[in-house]
């Protein structure tokens, strides 16, 4: 095992960057200063200089500011101070729906992504995908050249070829022209689409995503209401929530808003008379939602419909032909209790159907919400936010046309259909037969390989565009950096179809042009600057609409009624870390321990302990999944709480052309996924192949061993005895002040005493904090082999513990950063003073002084210290150097490292405060993990300030120290995890 192949997999000559430097365009002062932006010149001038100076800085030469004026977020000073980051508001999309973010930019080089507080989706928090997208921006594997059949071409060649191909079609009104795009929420792109279809009436524009979050919901709405309606849930108003195989808390464009709202209703520590919402969940595979639920029943996906129908009937919904028998595993009494609970909270309850469930279930959910009079309260219907998918505009229709040879010009601006399209469409083969096919993609991936032309796409952070959030709020996407590899945006490609070279071709002109057309010219500049500055277009949220159940909907819905089961059930889920596969080449996400399983660098076929027992399968056995005449080999993983007779596979793995990081990681489940059953189906057979596939599992033990690691209880218990936590942790000897006893005198306190409080009741284990920590602290990726060797480098891990029966386990999450113990065991054993205590209570790690005895880690009861056993940090790849946070040391081989409470942020705040001659304000220092957390479960601050949020939380009776009996006096403490089970149900 040479140190080389242990690196993150990148080793990369900086040649391209130098080529970019020679490119005359590079250091040129940008052209086209827009009218009426007085300060634009100065900043542009400065950024130009910065670009040049970075050029001299060697590898940095490839990062150069965008040539158009982009508007920094207000937190940043107008004039750039070197060493002082600027923040710019923009938006990052998932499945087509955007989240507002602020991007931290150092001397014109984006390094970190934070949530945009003024954006309704994240309200300041982010999910792990937007956190990780910064790494994709600098991915050295990104495509750099326009190619035709693999031959390098000039972009101008492509333009000529495209225009020629399209012009040939104009006679027929573009009958042979097809455009395939992602879900279109971008108003500009929608306008461009209209324009194209006006000039080429016979052409078609298809929308497609591997996971269409709106497809079933829209169809369900059409069933129930007979019209298009977009569903927006208001969890903040819901007291009782039922999730029908619905993942609310992670991995969807809705999650950020939902988690925030959900957590607000779970946070009892802050409340005076504590109340909590109650979450019920039925689902095949244990999801983060199910893990958080107060009541959860494992249910095969196919059984969700009868369950929902039964429940609906109890709630008085007219369900006509829909099958309605209580599926096995759920006591009728439990169902009654659930029905009573929902009914008891009319207007404050909420039934949510999962994206993967058939339209009938969505219709049932709509119906139940209607009869529970939740509509307009906990569930709001608006006009569609995305371009509503017309049945004729699906991928299936396109594939049909392609097979029939009706497609002569195909422009793909959607992500990678060859890899992710339904297997029965054989998209790849037919694509090769298209005379002129072009693909706009970040990577030279599976689709790029099959298309004739491939144009490197610009990353979101390199692009001018616009997009809408789930609730319709629109954001202008502004680039943080000029395209590193001359990438283009979808707007620019689509614009080429417009005849007449007069039409604008730069993304900036296109987007700005569209918005100009929507505004009166007078106040446009103010509007534009404000929209860019705030990151949102004011009052752009989708308008609510009134809907009513259409009579006889249930009969129509009955068509979705499941046929009698055959064999095992197969479930398709997006990967929790690489989503549909588009993040496969992202080392941070691949190495991220997947929630609940802690598996890294792999996906697995998950099944229940009982089913595994019946099939004689053990975890890590390789099994053959046979379904629909296709066979896929996968490692098995036994998951507590999984529904029996069902197997769940994560999509997004087994990429062949993802890049050096993502190629060959995991197995590809798409070959089993058909357009008929994109989410689940019966008829799966599973058999052992006889071999095993060892997985890299970051944590293999999920049993608390009877130790009080996660202290948990029910809301009832809390009402009965608010101090039950203290009772549970009574074995900690305490003095009268309630402090744990210690032989050692206290050291004098400084002005600040930093501390952290983590609310286990709110944490959903979404792992966004972990990725944020990677991004902020330059944490290296070590690769599968090293993770298997027990050397994963994360400073912050999220532990998962199971309690109760493996069939219906109770799940607990516990984020574990450094505890910053006041009596730190790690410090006393260091022979060289490499880890010592700051006066403000930080447990500091002095990398330069560390000789690597690793004694500190041995003596750390929380095992939060990680060690550079080899040269993990990548010192070769130029582009990755650009991503690094300049305020954090890049560690070398042989030194220990660990959570620092983001000391660089503390000091930044300190400098600001001292310049203004004041104390650091509460909430001014926010560590990366706390900033990212959608549930706001992590609170950091000064314990000397009695008014600080963290101080107040630590006064809560729910506050406890992990392993407090050891007398380490952690500064990081936890709020016990509370659940709110239905007392009625408990009796049942």
């Amino acid at each position: 095992m040479s140190p080389l192949n242990l690196r993150s997999g990148h080793s990369d000559s900086g040649r391209e960057y130098w080529r970019i430097l020679e490119d005359p365009g590079a250091a040129q002062p940008p052209s086209s200063a827009p009218a009426g932006s007085p300060d634009a010149l100065t900043r542009r001038g400065f950024l130009g200089i910065m670009g040049a100076s970075l050029a001299f800085a060697g590898g940095g030469g490839c990062s150069r500011p965008p040539s158009e004026p982009i508007v920094p977020y207000v937190r940043a000073p107008e004039s750039v101070v070197p060493g002082k980051p600027l923040y710019f508001a923009t938006a990052i999309a998932l499945d087509g729906f955007s989240t507002g973010v602020l991007v931290e930019s150092h001397e014109g080089r984006p390094t970190k992504i934070e949530g945009n507080p003024s954006h309704p989706a994240g309200r300041g928090s982010t999910d792990l995908f937007s956190q990780a997208s910064i790494l994709t921006l600098y991915d050295p594997d990104r495509a750099r050249e326009t190619t035709e059949r693999g031959e390098v071409r000039q972009y101008e060649d492509f333009i000529r070829a495209l225009r020629a191909a399209v012009d040939a079609e104009r006679a027929s009104g573009g009958a042979g022209v097809r455009i395939l795009s992602d879900t279109v929420t971008s108003p500009t792109l929608a306008a461009q689409r209209r324009a194209i279809l006006r000039s080429l009436p016979a052409a078609r524009w298809h929308q497609w995503e591997p996971l269409m979050p709106t497809a079933n919901a829209t169809a369900g709405a059409r069933l129930a209401f007979g019209r298009d309606a977009h569903t927006v849930h208001r969890l903040d108003r819901a007291d009782v929530i039922l999730a029908l195989d619905a993942e609310l808390l992670a991995g969807t464009p809705r999650s950020l808003a939902d988690v925030r709202a959900f957590a607000e209703r779970r946070r009892v520590a802050a409340q005076t008379e504590p109340r909590m919402n109650r979450l019920y969940a039925v689902e095949p595979a244990l999801s983060l939602t199910g893990a958080k639920a107060d009541h959860r029943w494992p249910l095969r996906a196919r059984d969700v419909l009868p369950f929902a129908a039964t429940l609906a009937r109890r709630l008085g919904v007219e369900t006509a032909a829909l099958p309605a028998q209580v599926p096995g595993g759920i006591a009728a009494s439990a169902l009654d209790a659930l029905a009573r609970d929902l009914a008891a909270h009319r207007g404050a309850s909420l039934v949510i159907a999962g994206d993967g469930q058939p339209p009938a279930v969505h219709a049932l959910a709509h119906a139940m919400n209607a009869v529970l009079s939740n509509v307009g309260r906990t569930v709001v219907y608006t006009e569609p936010v995305a371009l509503p998918p017309d049945p004729g505009d699906t991928l299936e229709a396109l594939a049909e046309d392609m097979r029939a040879g009706r497609v002569r010009v195909l422009i793909v601006v959607a992500w990678n259909p060859v890899y992710a399209a339904a297997a029965d469409l054989t998209f790849g083969q037919t694509l090769e037969r298209i005379p002129f096919s072009a693909y706009l993609g970040l990577f030279h991936d599976e689709t790029a390989e099959k298309c004739r032309w491939h144009v490197p796409a610009a990353h979101t952070l390199e692009t001018w565009s616009d997009a809408r959030a789930w609730d319709g709020t629109t954001s202008i996407v502004q680039p943080l950096i000029a395209p590193l590899y001359n990438g283009r945006s979808a707007h620019e490609i689509v614009a080429l179809l417009d005849q007449g070279a007069a039409a604008p071709t730069s993304g900036y002109d296109i987007v700005r042009g569209y918005w100009t057309s929507t505004r009166r010219e007078r106040d446009f500049e103010r509007f534009w600057r404000r929209a860019l500055h705030d990151g949102i277009v004011p009052d752009s949220a989708a308008r609510p609409i009134d809907v009513a159940l259409r009579p006889g909907w249930a009969r129509a819905a009955a068509s979705d009624a499941p046929t009698p089961p055959r064999g095992l059930e197969i479930n398709f889920k997006p990967s929790a870390v690489v989503h549909d596969g588009r993040y496969a080449n992202n080392g941070w996400l691949q190495e991220l321990p997947q929630p609940l399983t802690s598996i890294t660098w792999d996906n697995a076929a998950q099944l229940s302990p009982r089913t595994a027992g019946e099939l004689g399968i053990r975890s890590e056995d390789v099994v053959a999944l046979d379904y629909g005449g296709r066979r896929v080999l996968a490692p098995a993983w036994i998951t507590p709480g999984h529904a029996d007779g069902s197997v769940t596979v994560a999509l997004g793995y087994g990429r062949t052309r993802a890049g050096r990081v993502g190629n060959g990681v995991g197995f590809d489940a798409y070959p089993l996924r058909t357009s008929r059953a994109p989410w689940f189906d019966d008829g799966l057979t599973v058999e052992k192949v006889g071999t095993t596939h060892p997985l890299a599992v970051a944590a293999r033990h999920h049993d608390m061993q009877g130790r009080d690691l996660v202290v948990a209880g029910t809301l009832e218990a809390y009402h009965r005895d608010p101090n039950f936590v203290r009772a549970r942790t009574s074995h900690t000897p305490r003095d009268r002040a309630g402090q744990p006893l210690s032989l050692y005198p206290d050291h004098p306190d400084a002005e600040y005493r930093w501390g952290m409080s983590i609310d286990l009741g709110a944490c959903t284990a979404c792992q966004a904090c972990v990725v944020a920590c990677y991004a902020e602290n330059n944490i290296p990726v070590v690769g599968k082999a090293q993770v298997q060797a027990g050397r994963i480098m994360h400073w912050l891990r999220v532990d998962t513990y199971y309690a109760g029966s493996p069939d219906r386990p109770e799940v607990f999450h516990q984020p574990v950063p450094c505890m910053h113990c006041e009596k730190a065991p790690c410090e006393v054993v260091c022979p060289v003073n490499a880890t010592v205590h700051s006066r403000e209570g930080l447990n500091e790690m002095v990398y330069n002084r560390c000789v690597g005895t690793r004694y500190c880690s041995n003596n750390c009861p929380y095992k939060v210290r990680v060690f550079n056993f080899l040269q993990y940090a990548d010192w070769e790849t130029e582009s990755l150097k650009l991503q690094r946070n300049p305020d954090v040391t890049v560690r070398s081989r042989g030194v220990m490292e660990k959570c620092t409470y983001c000391v660089q942020r503390i000091n930044a705040a300190r400098i600001e405060a001292e310049k203004q001659g004041r104390r650091i304000r509460d909430g001014e220092v926010v560590p990366a993990c706390a900033a990212a957390c959608p549930a706001q479960a992590i609170v950091f601050g000064d314990l000397n300030d009695p008014a600080s949020a963290v101080h107040r939380l630590k006064q809560s009776p729910l506050d406890y120290a992990l392993l407090g009996e050891l007398g380490t006096r952690p500064r990081t403490t936890y709020l016990a995890a509370l659940r709110n089970p239905n007392p009625d149900e408990a009796k049942a």
Binding site: S742, Y744, H747, C821, K823, A824, C826, V836, H837
Partner: protein, 175 residues
Amino acid sequence: MMWGLLASFDDAAALARAALHLREAGYRRFDTYTPYPLDEPADVPGTPRSHIASVVFAAAIAGAIGGYAMQWYLMVVAYPINVGGRPLHSWPAFIPITFELMVLTASVAGVVTLLARNGFPRLHHPLFAVPGFERASQDGFLLAVEATDPMFSPLPTRRTLEQSGAREIYEVDGA
């Protein structure tokens, strides 16, 4: 010029008797040379008892004090920093090194004194020139009277040695 006279004896007992005899005769600057130390009564030549013990003791004290002082100074004065919330002057933690340094300095000082007092290293000595002196390290029992002894004069001394039972007597030339 002559360094002195070297006499060989049959065994340890004879050598011891001779040594006693010479001492009574008033000789002071003479010494025995044997393959192993003679029993106490034998080596009467009462040079003042060696100071090694006292040197070792002094060095031990110095080492201990020095060792503790060093730790106290470095941890409390030179580099006072909060380590694991322990007091700066964590005396129990300073004991082991104090002890080790005590032993180290004592041993080294002792050995150095040993060598110094024996005049080591001294690779040349007039006695080495005497044929058969090498047996002193194996099975010879020898006694040498130095010319610098006030009582010394070649013939009388030789006679005294003969009387005290010397088997052979060699003249040792000074360097």
